[in-house]
């Protein structure tokens, strides 16, 4: 937040006009005036989001070679490719705020950047691929539908496009889990096991409790976030609990109950200690994820060098 003392009268007037534009439902576009804190918050959120898409390729990508049918393999390849594309849409949105893509990618590779906590859990069985689609993408879509309303044009547009594509991710995962849930005893057990490992991480990925989200009031005032973390989490739970139960699966929360008065599901206490451990780099596979990203970057170096040399030669030949 800009310090009050440093603000000129002109800044105050601009801020007022800026907030009036947002209150009137206008989108802020690159080139428009914006408070430095608005820019900074957006860079923080969009870059974390971009990194999450990129790292998000890893848990499922590991299963492409082991998909049980050609159809499932095609679906999984398309999904992982989508995540790569979503990372690109978001890096582009961040770049419109004046941050070079290279700087963002370096921050990720050097372990200085945050990304979604949920991708630091291992994918132990094939059912995890289905459960990630249904729950992790289901939670992500809830968050992204909210962000599609965002006041910053480039972020909003990336979200609209991503939501359209992720609906496929959500549905293919749900389809797979529903199939296993009504399959053989071992298939049902595999689906239940995946649910038990992914349920709580999927709740955590929607971010800290509102009381630990100091940025939220300002983000709401500037139309960046139109709902709080807990509101989005409640939408996610309300959507998914009845469907999981309908599939005959047991949500691993002994105190989960439907509250007639409010019309919402009430879940048990989230283990925030675990959440912060994972966010701070000490989750089950944080180190493995970063090592995989770095190795992909290094293994692609010769391709980048060849492209640069080819372009340099072509340019030289033309001039």
């Amino acid at each position: 937040m800009p310090p009050e003392a440093g603000r000129s009268v002109e800044d105050e007037e601009r801020l007022e006009a800026f907030e009036a534009r947002i209150a009137g439902g206008e989108k802020i576009e690159p080139g428009d005036w914006m408070p430095e804190a608005y820019r900074r918050q957006l860079v923080r959120m969009i870059s974390q989001h971009a990194h999450s898409e990129i790292v998000g390729m890893l848990p499922e990508g590991a299963w492409i070679t082991r998909a049980p049918s050609l159809r499932r393999k095609l679906i999984l390849i398309a999904k992982v490719q989508d995540e790569a594309g979503h990372g690109q849409y978001l890096y582009h949105a961040a770049e419109t705020l004046g941050v070079p893509r290279e700087e963002l990618i370096d921050a990720l590779l050097e372990g200085r950047a945050k990304y979604s906590s949920v991708f630091n859990y291992p994918t132990l069985t094939w059912a995890d691929v289905g459960m990630i689609g249904w729950l992790v993408d289901g939670a992500a879509i809830r968050n992204q539908l909210m962000l599609a309303q965002c006041s910053y044009g480039p972020y909003s547009r990336a979200m609209v496009r991503i939501c359209a594509e992720e609906t496929f991710h959500h549905k293919q995962g749900k389809e797979m889990v529903l199939l296993y849930a009504r399959g053989s005893a071992s298939q049902r057990a595999m689906a239940q096991d995946a649910l038990e490992r992914w349920w709580w991480p999927s709740l955590m990925m929607l971010g800290p409790h509102d009381s630990d989200s100091p940025n939220t009031p300002q983000l709401a005032r500037w139309g960046i976030k139109t709902k709080t973390n807990d509101q989005v989490r409640r939408e996610y739970v309300d959507e998914h609990v009845p469907e999981l139960q309908g599939a005959g699966l047991t949500v691993p929360d002994p105190v989960l109950r439907f509250d007639e008065a409010s019309g919402h599901w009430v879940h048990g206490t989230i283990d925030w200690g675990e959440f912060w451990r994972v966010v701070k780099g000490n989750g089950p596979v944080n180190a493995e994820r970063l090592a995989a990203r770095r190795s992909a970057h290094e293994e692609g170096r010769w391709v980048r060098e060849a492209m640069a040399a080819y372009a340099a030669r072509a340019t030289g030949a033309a001039s």
Binding site: G31, I75, A78, F168, E175, A311
Partner: protein
């Protein structure tokens, strides 16, 4: 050889290219985002992977980001541009604009072309030529800096996406627990 010996660029991001996608014949090209690429051909291939994984696309344009002159209505109101005098150096600019705050996947769209001595002049000419509806943002790009996807490649580049129905959410219909029949495998 090390990059220094080959005199190649260091291992760094390539130049940025703005990407415009046309969904169907007769529709305008629309700004969909940007890619980093070593040259125009590379940029088109990147654009195809990033922005045309699904229908519908029939054409892509790419332009180096530094060739794009972008200005918003707010900037024009608070800090009017001074066009260079129209003279011998006049060139053709493609004009793109955005006219609505509605929820959208795309930004400015192609509306036509103007001839001007420089980008500021092109914006001024665009505002005169295309006054309605009022634009919220303008982009002008020298026409000779825009590279289009090859005509001969339209089928090869864009038609396969149409057959990959498994990545369309509509393929899955409404999925409900307890439906024993009707769900696809």
């Amino acid at each position: 050889m090390t990059p220094a010996e080959t005199n190649a660029a260091p291992d760094t991001q390539w130049p940025r290219w703005e990407v415009f996608k046309q969904d169907a014949e007769g529709k305008p090209h629309q700004a969909v985002g940007s890619v980093h690429a070593a040259d125009a051909e590379h940029a088109l291939l990147m654009a195809r992977s990033v922005h045309a994984r699904r229908p519908a696309a029939v054409s892509l344009w790419v332009a180096p980001a530094d060739a794009v002159h972008a200005v918003t209505a707010e900037q024009l109101a608070t800090d009017p541009e001074t066009p260079a005098p129209f003279g011998a150096g006049a060139r053709r600019f493609l004009v793109f604009r955005k006219t609505s705050h509605r929820r959208s996947m795309t930004f400015v769209e192609h509306v036509g072309a103007v001839t001007a001595a420089g980008p500021e002049g092109a914006v001024a000419a665009a505002r005169e030529t295309y006054p309605e509806p009022p634009a919220l943002a303008w982009w002008v790009v020298p026409a000779d800096r825009v590279t289009a996807s090859p005509e001969a490649e339209v089928a090869a580049w864009f038609e396969p996406a149409g057959t990959k129905t498994y990545k369309q959410q509509s393929e899955y219909g409404t999925l409900a627990a307890g439906h024993r029949k009707g769900g696809r495998r």
